[in-house]
Symmetry: C2
Subunit: 330 residues, 2 copies
């Protein structure tokens, strides 16, 4: 009598060529129980460069909209990270944004094995322009469902709704995280959000652009810390809590302070103000009570100053640009 | 030289076999500029009986999910009324509810002529369990996007988002109404909401069931008034306001008062209380400032007492049941 080998986990990852997705794939590939990862990405905002370093034979990329992905297989774990996350990108094609999120989730539900696990990257944008701070997961949010950010915010809310209802009606095993602002290496230079904007502007010798007065606050989570939180939550089997779970840094810093810091370490760049982005939230800060309870010991260890310096280093390597004026301060 | 006749309007109506949809189709067929109405309905909650009286050759029914409807034509007006609206129905199949609303809207956008008009029946449920009363259209709502009502609430919110974003990015002509509680003839006997529940229970000689204490309030709009408001808003060409527009009755009445009234006119039925429905909103009342401004002279003329009596008459005719114990009070 021979004992059949236990077959490994088959994973479907939508949006794996994106900034956060590609880092989470690096972490997934460190798991020895993973047999296969199929990454589906339409390369709208994702970049093949983000996974070019992966040589692991268990990993493959299919260039396709996740909502149209055809496959006979069923997967033990699905990760839904397929969405643009930066306002200029999702505002440019809201139909596609909503299709990727909601249609993508519907398709992935169909591709999930009966006892499979569905992991979804939701967002702090479900809180809209919050009227309470910090935001606990129980806060119902303040989103204008007719506004210019609604294609993103409402498709994330609707996808959460779909998943929680699949859990209620079908018993689907789900894990839903709400990610606050994340930054770090592999952000697109043209991503359009604050940290990467400031760094690419500084590297190009241009003024740093702030939309509005810059007093709007965000909580800046460095990618390594965020991925550690995701891995710990998504991969543990013994958690009975399906989410939603805030994942982020609860140190709230204003956009103008980030600009000033980038300016300082890049040798003094001028800062210029432009018209505010419509319905830009005034504040955003996670209540991490639940995360600390579920993931003991986890926290964002890289402060934003250190994270900004690491991101500058990465952008500089990527652009191959000498930076004689840069003065690193620690 | 001959002058081509002006061809009439081609209309696609999703959910036209439903309670509200079928009444609006009756109104549409009174328009002489309408050349064709294709009604697409999967008969999940709609009933063919609701349109059986229609003999107009311009009207036809296709039994199909709207999100899967295949058609080469493009339509001058589309009406998206395809969704279950009663909690026990939409809670029983949230995937299908969300697919009908959001997938249906995406499909109908594809089928809309370039200069066509998209009319959407949204809902007061986008306000969730509101913290302000009455609710103006600018109120962002208090919806738990992970809760048991979320498949309906969030798919209506997401569909609004999609349509407003199509207007912003593509200039699509949209009209979005938020309907408050509507009642009247052609409600399903097993619809599951208060007025029809009470009437069918009373006709069957059973106690009237109230979920919770019955102090939760609703604004009860009689179908004829609601359809008049819809027709005036949807069909006027000179309105530059795409919505959202509250349509309803702003007389707020508690559920228990409705039960007592039904009991009174039906000759005295006992009322029994059952456990509250999860996340049942405590109150709901439209701020009609905008509707009164846009549709001068329009208001809900049929008070709920009169509407309830008309609805009782209709149910009695439908069931063919003699009702010796009924005492109509005016």
């Amino acid at each position: 009598m021979s004992i059949s080998p236990i077959s490994g986990r088959r994973i479907l990852f939508a949006g794996g060529c994106g900034f956060i997705g590609s880092h989470l794939i690096d972490a997934l590939l460190q798991r020895s129980d993973v047999e296969q990862i199929i990454c589906v990405d339409n390369l709208w905002t994702g970049l093949e460069d983000n996974v070019r370093h992966v040589t692991d034979p268990r990993f493959s990329v299919v260039t396709c909209d996740i909502e149209k992905f055809q496959c006979e297989d069923r997967f033990d774990e699905v990760y839904h990270f397929a969405s643009p996350a930066s306002p200029p990108w999702y505002m440019s094609d809201p139909y596609r944004t909503m299709s990727a999120n909601i249609g993508g989730a519907m398709r992935m539900l169909d591709l999930l094995a009966p006892d499979g696990k569905f992991c979804f990257a939701s967002t702090s944008e479900v809180y809209g322009d919050p009227l309470v701070s910090p935001q606990p997961e129980s806060y119902r949010g303040s989103v204008d469902c007719t506004g210019p950010r609604s294609s993103y915010d409402e498709s994330k809310r609707a996808t959460e709704a779909l998943l929680f209802e699949m859990r209620r009606t079908r018993g689907t095993d789900i894990r839903v995280v709400r990610l606050f602002n994340v930054f770090g290496p592999r952000t697109r230079p043209d991503d359009g959000r604050a940290v990467s904007n400031f760094i690419t502007q500084a590297l190009a010798g241009r003024p740093l652009t702030i939309y509005g007065d810059g007093l709007q606050s965000r909580s800046w989570g460095y990618i390594d810390d965020i991925v550690e939180g995701l891995a710990r939550y998504f991969w543990r089997d013994k958690i009975d809590y399906p989410g939603p779970l805030n994942i982020g840094n609860d140190r709230e810093v204003s956009v103008i302070d980030v600009a000033r810091y980038v300016s300082q370490v890049m040798g003094g760049c001028p800062i210029q103000h432009e018209a505010p982005v419509p319905q830009d939230p005034t504040n955003r800060c996670p209540d991490l009570t639940l995360a600390r309870d579920l993931l003991p010991g986890w926290e964002c260890k890289v402060d934003y100053e250190e994270g900004v310096r690491r991101t500058i280093d990465w952008f500089r390597e990527e652009t191959g640009r000498p930076a004689p004026r840069i003065t690193l301060v620690s």
